[in-house]
Structures are given as C-alpha cells and as structure tokens.
C-alpha cells in the first residue's frame, strides 16, 4: 500500500510516560467444559517486549489463555504478572478487574462498536482525557494506521481490512501495558497483512510492550519470525524461534498445521541401529526412504512428513551427495505461487511436492515430462505415529 507515513510518529507528546520495558509472565490452570470431555489449560510462559506468537490448532486453548490474561475469564489457579504488576494471584486471592488492567485486546471478530464512527471507536478508550486531547490522540492514531479518511464512517460501512485497522488503532491509542491479538490477520490478504504488521512493529518500537499474537496459520508464524509458543491440548508443547519449533514436530496434529506439503503413510522395512536410521516403504508406490531412527518395529505403520522446501531437485543423477535418498522421477506439473514454484514430481508411484525458486526453474529448464531426481535428506523426514 502506497500510503504516506504521517510526519509525527504515533508516540505523541500528549501520551503518558511508560516504563522502558515490561514483560508478561503467565502461570495458570483453568479447567472448563468441552464437547469432548473437560479441558485443562495448564501453561507457564514468559513473554518479553515484542512479538510472541501463540500457535496451535483451534481448541488448543489460545483464546482462553488470552481471555485469562485480559481478565475476561478467571483462571482456577496460578498467577499473571504484567510489567511487574500482579493482575491475578490465586494465593493472594488477587484478581484485578478487566477494566483496570489496561491490556489491549483485539478480539477475533474485532468487536467494533456498531453505533460509533471509526473516530469515536478509536477515542473510546481515552475516557480520562479532555475532549481536545481525545481528538488529537485519536486523529494521530487514525493517521498512523492510514484510516484517517474513514473517521466519520461506521464499522458497517468500511471494509474488513479497514475494520481491522480501526480495531488495532482503538487498542493501541490507550497505550496498553500489553497487547493481545487474537488472529488479527486471519481475514486479510497477504499485502494487507504485511503492511499491518509493519505498522504494528513501527508502533512497538516506541512502546516496547509484550504483544501476544495468536494464530493457527503456520505461514504467519514464519512470516513474523519471532518467539513462538506452541500450544496443543491446553499445554505448551514447544517454545522457541519458529525455525526450531516448527521443524521439530512431535505430534501429528501439529505437523499437519506446520505446513508439511508431503505427508505419506509408510511402513518400517528395516532398522539400522548402528547408523541411527531406518528404511521406510511408502505405502503408495515403490519408494523407500531412509529416515531417522525412532522407536518402532519392523512392519509398524508410520506417517512421514517432508516440507516441500527441504527437497532438492537435480536434472542429472547426482553423485557424491551426503543425502541418503535420491529418487528418480518425472515432472508432472509446475505451478507458480508468488515467488516460488511448486513442482509435482512422480517418483515410483508417489507424488512429491518440491518448492523451487523462479531462478532455479529457469536455470534447470524445468517443464512437465522432464526426468529429474528428487533428493531427500534423512533428517528432513519427520516421523509421526499413526
């Protein structure tokens, strides 16, 4: 979006001074009824200033966790500290009301006030300021989020992306101590997403508060590239940088989400304990893959997941490679998606999806029907029980 960035940064002189940095620590347990038996949310993590991504399938407990931090839902037990201040402490029987916490929360369906204009929505949280200060602050925020021209419109009269901007501006203008974003980008197309994230990052450079960003979209996790907390069934199953967390799946549901383009059912053919590998036969076709060794018996069924970006393609049979799996095949289809090329390669009755750059496609003169070799590193094969 080619929109002019306002001259004044979002941090304006009318705004109150803020702590240099603040972090958020959550240790809570919360049991609640669930269609499939009761469900226990049991988490303990710390989020520093900046983005922390809460990643997990729907039903993993992400929204409940945010609701507890915002004070909209009471945990059963535990402690919530934001910026050094206790908001909830079961031992001390302390539970600060939601409206006294000053935590920004952008709800999944935005919850804009339908009877107020965009500007009135943004000014809503500035209750304590004078009318003039309210107007200055909210106009600056509307400007910073490129929605100044919409200020007299009501939510029903603006687009989904614009509503998202209004909702973000409304939360940020109050200078919250922490920001909770529940899938704020789910409804947006890619360019709108990245411009909105850019505006958020710019805002946070001046404010340095923890931002918890909930998503179930693996692509968003990589795009944001910050600390990830992975939730599954109410528990934290992994935490770290996207690269570490997303590439070491432990559970099949997580693997599915993490965007494995290639998922095959396989049976174990042979174990090579000395080499730390085993041979798996893909059930559809004749392909055998050498994979990392896991605790399994010969004949047991597994699922193998391989990311399309981890696969190599060669137009001549490669020699002298460390990779253990070199599979001859034929290109069936090539499809361009943004700046990557997704190639579907048939190898011995199994289709592999391989992602390449545009340059690689042109240099190798790839086209459907061409004979190629697919190279699979042993440790690119992720195994999951069935």
């Amino acid at each position: 979006m080619a929109v002019k960035v306002p001259l004044a940064p979002p941090a304006a002189p009318t705004m109150s001074p803020l702590p240099i940095s603040s972090d958020l620590e959550v240790r809570i347990r919360k049991r609640f009824p669930h269609p499939e038996g009761s469900f226990l949310l049991n988490v303990h993590f710390r989020a520093l200033a900046g983005f922390t991504i809460l990643f997990g399938a729907s039903g993993a407990g992400k929204t409940t966790l945010l609701d507890c931090i915002a004070g909209l839902v009471d945990p059963d037990d535990g402690r919530i500290v934001v910026g050094g201040e206790d908001f909830y402490d079961a031992e001390k029987k302390l539970n600060v009301a939601a409206w006294k916490r000053n935590i920004g929360y952008v709800h999944q369906d935005l919850a804009l006030f339908p009877h107020l204009t965009a500007e009135e929505n943004v000014a809503y949280g500035l209750r304590k300021l004078s009318r003039a200060e309210r107007q200055t602050s909210s106009r600056e925020m509307l400007q910073a989020f490129h929605i100044e021209h919409l200020r007299d419109r009501r939510p029903a009269q603006i687009s989904g992306g614009e509503r998202q901007r209004v909702a973000l501006a409304r939360s940020l203008v109050t200078e919250p101590r922490a920001l909770l974003l529940d899938e704020p980008l789910s409804a947006l197309d890619r360019p709108t997403k990245s411009s909105l994230v850019g505006d958020l990052r710019k805002w946070n450079q001046n404010h340095r508060v923890p931002i918890l960003f909930v998503t179930h979209n693996g692509e968003e996790v990589f795009a944001l590239g910050d600390e990830v907390v992975m939730l599954d069934g109410g528990k934290i199953v992994a935490q770290g940088l996207p690269h570490d967390v997303m590439r070491a799946p432990r559970l099949e549901t997580v693997a599915n989400l993490a965007g494995f383009e290639n998922i095959f059912d396989a049976s174990v053919r042979a174990l090579h304990e000395a080499r730390g590998t085993m041979t798996c036969h893909l059930r559809k076709g004749t392909v055998e893959l050498e994979t990392p060794l896991v605790r399994a018996e010969v004949g047991s069924l597994l699922r193998v997941g391989i990311q399309a970006g981890d696969l190599l393609l060669a137009t001549e049979e490669p020699h002298g490679l460390s990779a253990r799996n070199i599979l001859p095949g034929t290109i069936r289809r090539l499809a361009q998606r943004d700046v990557i090329v997704a190639a579907i390669i048939e190898c011995g009755g199994t289709d592999f999806e391989v992602h390449l750059t545009l340059a690689a496609r042109d240099a190798l003169q790839l086209r459907p029907g061409k004979a190629v070799w697919v190279v699979v590193k042993t440790h690119s094969c992720h195994l999951m029980g069935i």
Binding site: W99, Y105, A111, Y124, R127, S171
Partner: protein, 229 residues
C-alpha cells in the same frame, strides 16, 4: 367521550410509563447480568402481573396502601392523606401491574447486545456501569422504546387494578376503562362504544408503531444494513 376521564387516563399512563423506564432499567440490568442462583425467582415475581388476575394484584396493593400498613401510615404521616383511592395510589398499583411490560423488553434488548462488545469496552478501561451507559443503552434503543410504549398502552387499558385501588372517583381515579364500564351499567351503549373504539384504535396504533420500529427503524440489524450517513 368523557374528556376528564381521557386526560386522567393519559396522565396516568404517561407517569407510569416514565417511572417504569426509571425503575425498569436497573431491574432489567440486574436480571440481565446477575449470576445469582436464585435469580429465576425474581424473574418469576416480575412476570407475575402477566398471569395474575388484576383483582388479586389490586387487592394486595389496596391492603398495602391502606392506613393499617407501614407504607400507608408513612404516606399519611407525610401528606395527611391516605394512598388508597387517590391518583398516587393508582400510580403505585399501575407500576406493579405494568412492570413486566417494561422490564422484559428492556432485559431482552440488554441481553441481545453482543458480549464481545462489553468485553472490548472493559479492555478499553470502562467499568461495567460506564459500559452500560455508552454501549448497552444506545444499542438497546428499540427495546427501551418498546418497553415504554407497551407499559403506556397496558396502563391505558387497565381496569381491575384501577377499580380495586382507585375506585371510581371522577377526575381522580375514573379512567376510560372504568368510564366504559359505567356507561354499560347505565345502558348507555353508544357512548360506551365510542370510548371503547377510541381505546381500541389508540392501542392498535401504539402497537403498530412498536412493531414497525422493531422491524424497520431502531433494530440492531439496521446498524449493519442501512447506510447511516
């Protein structure tokens, strides 16, 4: 038509409907948001006038207003008059009688306001009462108007409670519905018909306005559908 009875009736209905907005909003607020486990008992008590014979309600109101009850004595010491068979007594009886017609539409419209809006308002630093004033009340306009109009129309047409509490004193407690009864008693059918028809038409008009507003005017859906400015 008996104009004295007409103006008395309109005055009674207007006073009662206005007071019910003031009394009904806090009651409806409590009924909507309270998590008290015995709340249903209060809900039942508020709805009681819908099913109770007006004479039963009127009888107990009369007893409560009488000079032997604490309320009656307190009023007498204050004003030197009894409450029974006065306009004020009539107002009290009518308040109870029309209470559900105000409280139920209020509570229904408060309850229909999306909870996520209330949560958003809390996260933006507004207390429950501030949220109620700035979000719930504006979004409940249709329910507030419905409650006001229904209690006005319901008071306009009441008979049993008025007769029990107010009697039939011209200019003080003789409302249109009592007037109709009098005229029928006196075999004055054409006069009774004129008044009855008038009440019928007015009640129909009020209800038409209420339903029309709910359908096309102030319904919450219009926030989403109609271009506003």
């Amino acid at each position: 038509m008996n104009w004295e009875a007409f103006w008395l009736t309109v005055r009674l209905a207007a006073v009662v409907a206005a007071l019910l907005v003031a009394i009904g909003i806090p009651i409806a607020y409590w009924l909507t948001y309270s998590r008290w486990r015995w709340k249903f008992l209060v809900e039942a008590a508020v709805a009681l006038p819908i099913v109770l014979p007006p004479t039963v309600l009127g009888f107990y109101v009369l007893v409560a207003l009488g000079s032997r009850s604490p309320l009656g004595r307190w009023w007498e010491s204050l004003t030197g008059r009894t409450l029974a068979f006065t306009f004020e007594g009539l107002v009290i009886g009518s308040l109870l009688y029309s209470l559900p017609f105000a409280v139920q539409p209020f509570a229904a419209s408060f309850g229909a306001v999306d909870r996520t809006l209330l949560q958003a308002s809390a996260s933006l630093g507004h207390s429950p009462l501030q949220t109620f004033r700035r979000i719930v009340l504006p979004l409940s306009q249709a329910g507030l108007i419905t409650g006001f109009a229904l209690s006005f129309a319901h008071t306009l047409g009441e008979f049993g409670v008025v007769l029990m509490v107010g009697g039939n004193i011209p200019g003080v407690t003789r409302t249109l519905s009592i007037d109709i009864y009098d005229q029928v008693q006196a075999a004055n059918y054409s006069s009774a018909n004129r008044t009855a028809l008038f009440l019928l038409v007015v009640s129909f008009l009020i209800l038409s306005i209420v339903f029309g507003l709910n359908r096309y005017g102030l319904n919450r859906r219009t926030w989403a559908l109609s271009p506003w400015r």
